[in-house]
Point group: C2
Chain length 246, copies 2
């Protein structure tokens, strides 16, 4: 795992090795995409059409992929709705006006094993494309308490990736780590992410965070994701252009 | 991880906790399904329609699910063909008559990150269904050298599963391991798997192993999977009923 644990600006060194970036269309993954592009990586972006009620994010992902000149953008259909178990995919109310510091329980918006499924598919794509780098916008400071956003999860996945794959095994035999999982936002506050995004020129108007937006992407302003985002923009002292959508 | 490292007969104790079993329709997963049912687990079976050229295996999986009285059988479409990189999904010749002890290279039938993707989806289903047990028919004795069949991969996935999920985190806080990944065939020879299957009453005629069968499931008899299977039946001294298909 690299990049996490620091709030450093991205290294200005160009890295010409291709990277797979998980791109949801949200604020965090947009900043990660810009960060990887600034480092110089050619990027293959991967998004998931998983039956999420906030499908508007996929149009944001497509727009961001275009803005940042990705080499390929793949939207993978994977119907997690068929399994059930989450307010993000089922016919269950998205909680509103929840206390953000209520860490007593993982909320009903948790989707079982979501980041494990997404990273596994990103890993399959990375190996098929010869990419050693994977990047994901998880954050464990201003977040909803999902277990698969924590640094220990990211470290365990990187370890698994290098045991699970041909490329991982071949490089391990030479004493090298093949797959590197980048989580550059892991220890940033939401305001820190907004500031990093501004520095990297991210078009926040092309991002969405709301779990329960209108079909045209107007945010509800009351779900966890909206409130964490608002807190970030407030603390960074800038206006959120996504609030202008209606 | 449990069950691996021993060639013991399954415990006769009924376990009433539900389990998710990865069911390809092959010989190994059929034995694992029978083993979990003999232990007493109510089973949710999961199969994958991933663009494999040997799609005949899905009809075997459905038949096995019926024979063994699973509670639910879910066939998940996930198009790994879109990523490419394998003779099992691409328009690349399946190797025939390869030396089985040629461990110098992982063969072209390797599918990038396949078992990681499959186990991730099985984990999502398990958490959504309240199942603590996952079972997979990997084997690292008479096998094709795939990295994601090795015991160290299985152990790393079990560890990840307990970090990645709500149920894993809740139980870890109580000092308990939630998800258990069973790989009962891990250290058996192919002949040992055949013998265990006979003991458990597995209907081998309802299984398939060939990577390149005819549409009606007649095996090619020359790919790695056919030859490993033939070696197993030979050494166990029994006839393979699947050879009667044409």
């Amino acid at each position: 795992m690299s990049g996490s644990g620091t709030a450093d600006a991205p290294e200005p060194i160009a890295a010409d090795e291709p990277a797979v970036v998980l791109l949801s269309g949200g604020l965090d993954s947009a900043v990660v995409l810009a960060w990887m592009r600034r480092r110089g990586h050619p990027v293959v972006a991967i998004s998931f059409d998983y039956g999420q009620r906030h499908r508007f994010e996929l149009s944001c992902a497509a727009r961001l992929a275009e803005i940042h000149g990705v080499r390929e953008h793949r939207i993978v259909p994977i119907d997690l709705r068929a399994f059930g178990g989450s307010a993000l995919t089922d016919d269950v109310e998205v909680p509103k006006d929840r206390e953000l510091d209520d860490a007593s329980a993982i909320p009903v918006t948790y989707v079982p094993a979501r980041n494990t499924v997404f990273l596994s598919l990103a890993l399959a794509l990375a190996e098929a494309r010869g990419a050693r780098h994977l990047a994901i916008g998880v954050n464990a400071v201003d977040y909803s308490g999902y277990p698969d956003c924590r640094p220990e999860f990211i470290a365990a996945f990187e370890r698994l990736a290098n045991l699970a794959t041909r490329d991982g095994v071949v490089d391990a035999a030479q004493g090298r780590r093949h797959f590197q999982l980048h989580a550059p936002l892991a220890s940033l506050s939401k305001a820190g992410i907004v500031r990093l995004g501004l520095e990297l020129g991210v078009d926040f108007a092309s991002t969405t965070s709301c779990y329960d937006p209108t079909p045209t992407g107007a945010p509800c302003r009351r779900c966890d994701a909206c409130r964490l985002r608002a807190k970030g923009f407030d603390e960074a002292g800038v206006e959120d252009p996504a609030l202008r959508r209606d």
